[in-house]
């Protein structure tokens, strides 16, 4: 429970920092770092099967652009 509260506080702080930072209009040539493939706001392709087993072994799923249904994972 304590860990949960700590995580919530950390998340709130992070969101506050982000909110406090004004968005800057970027020109295309200023996006070289953002366009780096490792900066993509998605799961890596190589993570696909990790996400599957986590969704089957844990009670929570979703909000990670992964699957929320389908497949048994019964084993």
């Amino acid at each position: 429970m304590k860990t949960t509260k700590q995580l919530m506080k950390i998340s709130a702080c992070l969101l506050l920092i982000i909110s406090a930072t004004s968005c800057v209009h970027l020109k295309e040539y200023q996006k070289s770092r953002l366009n780096d493939s490792e900066m993509a706001l998605t799961n890596r392709k190589v993570e696909k099967n990790e996400l599957n087993f986590q969704s089957y072994r844990e009670g929570a799923s979703g909000a990670n652009a992964g699957k929320t249904g389908g497949g048994c994972g019964c084993n």
């Binding site: 860990t3 949960t4 995580l7 919530m8 950390i10 998340s11 992070l14 969101l15 982000i18 930072t21 968005c23 800057v24 209009h25 970027l26 200023q30 996006k31 070289s32 770092r33 953002l34 780096d36 493939s37 490792e38 900066m39 993509a40 706001l41 890596r44 392709k45 190589v46 993570e47 696909k48 099967n49 990790e50 599957n52 087993f53 986590q54 089957y56 072994r57 844990e58 009670g59 929570a60 799923s61 979703g62 909000a63 990670n64 652009a65 929320t68 249904g69 389908g70 497949g71 048994c72 019964c74 084993n75």
Partner: protein, 449 residues
């Protein structure tokens, strides 16, 4: 004056270089997609390259080997010890093929064809038959199809997808619609995905809970195995006839609305907010999961029983930051709640370090914690009067850690000098739960263009 003069000369030289760079004949043989490139060749194109023509954009292959140990399997109602073995090995392979073409309005069309095949061995599956004589393995086949069209002017997309997954005791069909739109300055993007999964669960019960053998008037015996095969035995025990799985199935439906919003904050930082609304209905238990009760009668196992509806609400965000010139911070957080009483927090961080611009090493750590669902109790702790009951550790209170490292190589001349082989990723992870479940997974991803 001298400084000004030298500045003008310097500027003129720079301009010369710029002009030269624009008129120099391209000698590379790499194909250049006309719809995204700023490159405009001068002179006649002799390659017969036609951007409208259907072409293969990318082929990805992902393979994983997963191994797991544990000793509280849901099949044996969380019974500790050898009978509760949770040992699993799984070998997964997925192939994804992206085909791209432009339509008359220069909108980009992408057709993704996916094909997956898993083969697993599961020690707990053998204990569907009480003494461990069941089939301890199986395979799963899952093709998918997705079509997406991207507006050339606005960058918005619309698409539809279909999915199928088939294994011995579980069949699933899925369909989705997805749509996204960008902000005017294209620094933000809002996306919606509506998904529906329509599953059928085969009702394979533990061997001691299926109807007993029945004798017929002709002296033969009709016997149903745990896996649903109906065999007719002669009076001497010989199998006269055998029919394939005749067991009934039950429906399970999952409907999801997934929302996302991503925003570029500055030249180094971008974030994404994610939120799903998930509703499930139908048969949400698994028929071969036993539950033992606290009435001291271990011979009276029942089949797991869970409510026929569930609502899930996961919300999360990703935050990626490019630190300096070589280090990237990839972070993720999710809070999850559902109406079965589970609350969960997930936080992860991955730190890719670029050893060179084309080779990176990425250590990662993920922490997960959840509270127990209100229908969960461990082995022999449920009361016989409980309305709903499960001893599946998936619904227990536990914490989990997952850590490991990944390697990615994507050189401009192709991996191992092969132009079409543009990317190679290898990743290893070690996972531990406080339920004593331990697993390891190693994955390989290769991409061709």
């Amino acid at each position: 004056m001298k400084k000004k003069f030298l500045s003008v000369i310097g500027f003129a030289i720079l301009c010369r270089f710029q002009v030269y760079s624009q008129v120099k004949t391209d000698t590379t043989s790499l194909p250049r997609p006309a719809y995204t490139s700023l490159y405009t060749p001068i002179g006649q194109d002799s390659t017969n390259y036609n951007p409208r023509r259907l072409r293969i954009d990318e082929i990805d292959l992902v393979s994983s080997y997963y191994t797991q140990t544990g000793d509280h399997s849901a099949v044996m109602g969380g019974m500790p010890g050898p009978k509760g073995t949770q040992n699993v090995t799984d070998f997964s392979n997925g192939l994804n093929l992206n085909l791209v073409w432009l339509n008359q309005a220069n909108n980009k069309n992408t057709l993704s064809l996916g094909l997956g095949y898993d083969h697993h061995s599961s020690a707990s599956a053998a204990y569907v038959a009480l003494e461990g004589g069941g089939k301890p393995g199986g395979s799963r086949f899952y093709p998918s199809l997705d079509w997406t069209i991207e507006n050339a002017k606005t960058g918005g997309t619309f698409g539809i997808g279909a999915y199928y997954s088939g294994e011995y005791n579980y069949k699933s069909k899925g369909i989705d619609f997805h749509w996204s739109t960008k902000t005017n300055d294209k620094s933000g993007e809002f996306g919606v995905k509506l998904q529906g999964y329509f599953d059928r669960v085969t009702l394979i019960y533990p061997s001691e809970l299926i109807p007993p053998s029945s004798a017929t008037q002709t002296g033969t015996t009709v016997y149903t195995t745990a896996s649903g095969v109906v065999e007719t035995l002669s009076s001497t025990g010989q199998v006269i006839s055998s029919s394939k799985n005749t067991l009934p199935t039950s429906a399970r439906t999952t409907l999801t609305a997934a929302f996302s919003y991503s925003q570029q904050i500055n030249s180094r930082l971008q974030i994404m907010f994610l939120g799903d609304l998930v509703t499930q209905s139908g048969y949400l238990s698994l028929p071969f999961h036993r539950v033992y009760f606290n009435d001291n009668d271990t011979s009276k196992a029942k089949v797991e029983k869970l409510p026929s509806s569930r609502f899930k609400l996961p919300i999360g965000f990703r935050l990626n930051y490019f630190l300096g010139d070589n280090i990237i911070l990839r972070t993720y957080y999710r809070y999850y709640m559902d109406n079965w009483g589970t609350r969960s927090n997930t936080a992860s961080i991955e730190i890719p370090y670029k050893v060179t611009p084309f080779f990176s090493v990425s250590p990662f750590y993920r922490y997960y914690t959840q509270t127990a669902a209100k229908y969960y109790a461990p082995y022999r702790e449920h009361s016989p009067t409980d309305t709903y009951y499960t001893s599946n550790d998936e619904y227990a209170k536990f914490n989990a850690s997952f850590y490991g490292v990944g390697f990615r190589i994507a050189p401009p001349n192709g991996v191992f000098g092969m132009h079409n082989f543009h990317e190679l990723e290898i990743r290893y992870g070690h996972y531990t739960q406080t339920t004593d479940l331990v697993s390891d997974v190693v994955s390989l991803s290769v991409g061709f263009k």
